[in-house]
Symmetry: C2
Subunit: 86 residues, 2 copies
């Protein structure tokens, strides 16, 4: 089993309403912040030899019209559902 990390972000120029709301919230709390862009983060546990992650992104995980993604083969430990909360 291998772990792949996917980061999906809006393309430049696409309105990021959640990012703007987060920026507003941070500023209301007194934090100095110029801009916030929000995105999605996914950790996929894949069987060995399986899965074209690029195709998963293009067909299902992201919207290629407005989003870009980057794929990182990861050695980081996955937070599995079988673990216990800290």
């Amino acid at each position: 089993m291998r772990t792949v990390r996917v980061v999906i972000t809006l393309k430049p120029g696409v309105l990021d309403a959640p990012g703007q709301a987060i920026r507003q919230g941070l500023r209301a709390l007194g934090f100095a912040v110029d801009e916030v862009r929000a995105g999605k983060y996914l950790e996929l546990a894949l069987p060995h030899g399986a899965g074209d992650v690029e195709e998963m992104c293009a067909r299902f995980l992201a919207n290629p019209l407005i989003e870009t993604w980057r794929i990182e083969e990861g050695e980081r430990q996955m937070a599995t559902a079988g673990g216990t909360a800290e």
Copy 2:
């Protein structure tokens, strides 16, 4: 201005309903995937010398009861809202 990337993920053992839904969707499309964990990704543009990102996460961006986060000082180019869509 410096860019900081924040990845927020659910702690191990916390039910990840979006992750399960994404896994189901991938499998329905024929992709072999064992598990999916979903999280949030944020890019913050901060003024120089400003902002304790750790405190932002603990107080506002994440829920410390059920989520963990990691903070990466980034050299990656931020996808600013002023740009044009590709």
